[in-house]
């Protein structure tokens, strides 16, 4: 018996001593996670702290993370959570408060202010941080550069519209180009935009129209939604978005991130809206045929949906693991590692100087458009009830796109439901 107790004590001591020797990070299943794993392996070589990046399919990512947070101890030590999750993570005690640690460990001045505000801070403007920026992504467009540069197409376009066929700066120009390339009999289509009814793709697609047409989700101070969600500008944005479906493939009223991607990489679509993190794969598979541009604007306004995720530490893991995770985050955000990060497929930095550098802008065909997009990103609500707000928005916007309800009626219903959710959550003032 004494021998057994000694062995038990030794094994307990050993396990406690090694508690901070490895960390598990949960992220979605995509190329940037592979890049993070590679950097994690470099970190392990330098520090002896192993990093395991566990990848979960996008469709189950949110469910699995929050289900695991329901346990007394999480299976992960850090999570690369969606930007909208931060309010829930912060207010429910799921994310570790990094406010005191982050400014001392990371060069805050080097971080792009939009990335810091949208990916790390909660509540907005509070300077309280619950994440560090990891993947700084934005919504943009891939287009068929070979079609745009085809002299016959250029001549035909000029004859029809009286201007050169070029990357569109406004949504109106975008619609002209989409209509020009819409040739269903030849299996060629004008555009594919984010309209999927799953987690958030319809909302992420719609926001690009909502903001540039002058609308918004509500008043961030009072959480009032009536007159914002259903404003004439928002209605105009939604109606414009719907009008583009006439120049899209059959079924494009329900295209998620992957379906948009497929419609472009199968060679049938001229312009495709998606997140930049998907574009390295497009560039690799399509080569010079593909080009990339930032979101068009309307009446002088330009905006795009924020993508990407912040790096948060679980409040439900051991202090040793939390410390190891902090070391990894601080190491990852050093400029040297950020330079390595941008060389990984879909690895997008929040380092403002790197984003602005000519070397970064010219390194890939999509980097310049990405860097321009980061300056104009905006995000959906990131309050604790973001998920209910998101689900309601997906449902009502879907009804408008399907034609079940006119845009105005759908947005009126959405404004009412959002107001109810804010009231129930005690946020409405």
């Amino acid at each position: 018996m004494p021998r057994f107790c000694l062995a038990l004590a030794l094994s307990l001591t050993a396990s406690l001593a090694s508690a901070g020797d490895s960390i598990t990070v949960w992220w979605a299943q995509w190329a940037p996670s592979d890049g993070l794993q590679q950097l994690g392996d470099d970190f392990a070589k330098e520090t002896g702290i192993a990093v395991k990046v566990h990848q979960i399919p996008w469709s189950n990512f949110q469910d699995q993370v929050f289900l695991d947070f329901g346990n007394a101890k999480t299976s992960f030590d850090a999570v690369v959570g969606d930007s909208q999750w931060i309010g829930r993570g912060a207010s429910k005690g799921l994310y570790l408060d990094l406010t005191a640690w982050l400014p001392g460990a990371v060069d805050m001045a080097a971080l792009h202010p939009k990335a810091l505000a949208n990916l790390c801070e909660y509540p907005a403007g509070s300077k309280k941080y619950f994440a560090a920026p990891l993947e700084t992504d934005a919504c943009g467009f891939a287009y068929r550069r070979d079609w745009f540069q085809d002299p016959a197409e250029q001549a035909a376009f000029k004859a029809k519209f009286g201007r050169d066929l070029a990357v569109p700066a406004t949504w109106e120009e975008f619609r002209d180009i989409a209509s020009f390339f819409q040739r269903p009999d030849k299996k060629r289509f004008g555009c594919a935009i984010l309209t999927g009814r799953g987690y958030d793709s319809l909302v992420m697609g719609y926001q690009n129209f909502l903001w540039s047409f002058g609308g918004g989700w509500g008043d961030p101070a009072t959480f009032a939604t009536d007159g914002h969600v259903n404003s004439p500008s928002a209605v105009a944005g939604l109606e414009f978005m719907k009008s583009l479906l006439a120049y899209a493939p059959a079924g494009a009223a329900n295209f998620d991130y992957v379906q948009c991607l497929e419609s472009f990489t199968n060679g049938s679509t001229a312009m495709m809206m998606d997140y930049f993190a998907f574009f390295p794969g497009v560039a690799r598979s399509m080569g010079d045929k593909a080009g990339f541009f930032a979101m068009p604007g309307h009446a002088g306004r330009r905006a795009c949906s924020l993508g990407g995720q912040g790096f948060s530490i679980s409040a439900k893991t051991s202090p040793a693991k939390q410390d190891a995770a902090k070391r990894f985050i601080a190491w990852f955000l050093q400029e040297k590692q950020q330079q390595a990060w941008i060389r990984k497929e879909g690895g997008f930095t929040a380092n403002a100087a790197i984003l602005k550098s000519p070397a970064f802008r010219s390194a890939t065909p999509y980097n310049a458009a990405l860097a321009d997009s980061i300056d104009m990103v905006q995000d959906f609500w990131n309050v604790p009830v973001y998920n209910e707000l998101l689900a309601a928005a997906q449902r009502h916007l879907g009804e408008a796109l399907d034609g079940t309800k006119p845009a105005k009626a759908a947005l009126d219903a959405l404004a009412e439901e959002h107001a109810g959710i804010f009231a129930e959550a005690g946020l409405a003032k």
Partner: protein
């Protein structure tokens, strides 16, 4: 066990047979049900934290909250429509197939095997395959329609509920056929011989012999399929997702409430309401079947 001798040895033997099943029943049925009832009176959240007792507030939300009641009502209507249409079509097609396959013919066995294949496959996998078949531009169905000079609709956006029905009917018609075939084979041949001697018209034979004698088994098949269709979830998840107004069944709304919206307490209360509803429908239907069987017994 009432008739068993009460010796300790036989009692032990009896418990050793019944015990494991009883334990499994308690662990996997009764405990989750009891826990679900407890949760339904709390404001439990998927991501943990402290819970508070909220009494009947979750139940009040389901029935009186304008927003939730509207969603619940819409989900209920979608589920009812789906169940009625799916079961009716499957019953009609399944019975017709059973009548066609009733007599022996060459190749009947392999044909039956092929017809039974769909119901042996996973609904989630089938949903994903049908997504590809129904794809608007490159899906095989629209390619065939295009070759035939017909219009090629965007099935998954313009006819969402129809897509669900199509896949469900494709999967479960063989089940109806199988049960109907069993019913048809159980009808005594003498009844048909007597009808033939009396030169009874075919439609009358069908109406007075085939259908009534098959009815109890068909009723059972309808009951089984209806309770299954009332819980429709996997096809919805695979084809349109749980948050699409056009196809949001009660189970999809339950998932959306509990997992996407992370309101475990409200979801638990909603699950109880759904369970009571399904039990009520099933009870009514079994009573009806009992009444039919009793009437047949009286007439026989």
């Amino acid at each position: 066990m009432a008739g068993m001798p009460g010796t300790g040895g036989t009692r032990m033997l009896a418990w050793s047979f019944v015990g494991p099943a009883l334990l499994l029943l308690i662990a996997f049925n009764l405990f989750p049900l009891a826990w679900n009832i407890v949760l339904s009176f709390t404001n439990a959240d998927l991501s943990g934290g402290t819970w508070e007792w909220v009494g009947g507030r979750n139940y009040a939300t389901i029935f009186s909250d304008k927003s939730f009641a509207a969603k619940y009502g819409a989900a209920l209507r979608t589920t009812a429509l789906f169940t009625v249409l799916a079961v009716a079509i499957e019953l009609a097609l399944g019975f017709a197939l059973a009548l066609a396959l009733r007599r022996d013919f060459r190749g009947k066995t392999p044909l039956l095997a092929v017809l039974l294949l769909p119901m042996m496959l996973s609904p989630a996998v089938m949903g994903l395959f049908w997504n590809l078949i129904l794809e608007g531009t490159y899906g095989p169905l629209n390619q065939i329609l295009g070759l035939a000079g017909l219009s090629q609709p965007a099935w998954r956006t313009e006819f969402k509920l129809l897509c669900l029905l199509l896949v469900d009917v494709w999967m479960w018609t063989p089940f109806m056929m199988l049960i109907a075939l069993a019913g048809l084979n159980a009808i005594p041949a003498q009844l048909y011989e007597a009808a033939e001697i009396d030169r009874t018209p075919a439609w009358r034979v069908f109406a007075r012999i085939t259908l009534p004698l098959c009815a109890p088994l068909l009723g059972l098949a309808v009951l089984l399929r209806a309770t299954d269709a009332l819980k429709q979830f996997d096809l919805v998840m695979a084809i349109t997702g749980p948050n699409d107004q056009a196809t949001q069944t009660v189970s999809a709304l339950l998932y959306q409430t509990t997992f996407a919206n992370q309101k475990v307490g409200l979801g638990a209360a909603y699950a109880i309401v759904v369970l009571v509803g399904v039990i009520a429908v099933a009870t009514l239907f079994t009573r009806y079947l009992d009444w039919m069987a009793a009437r047949q017994g009286r007439e026989g």
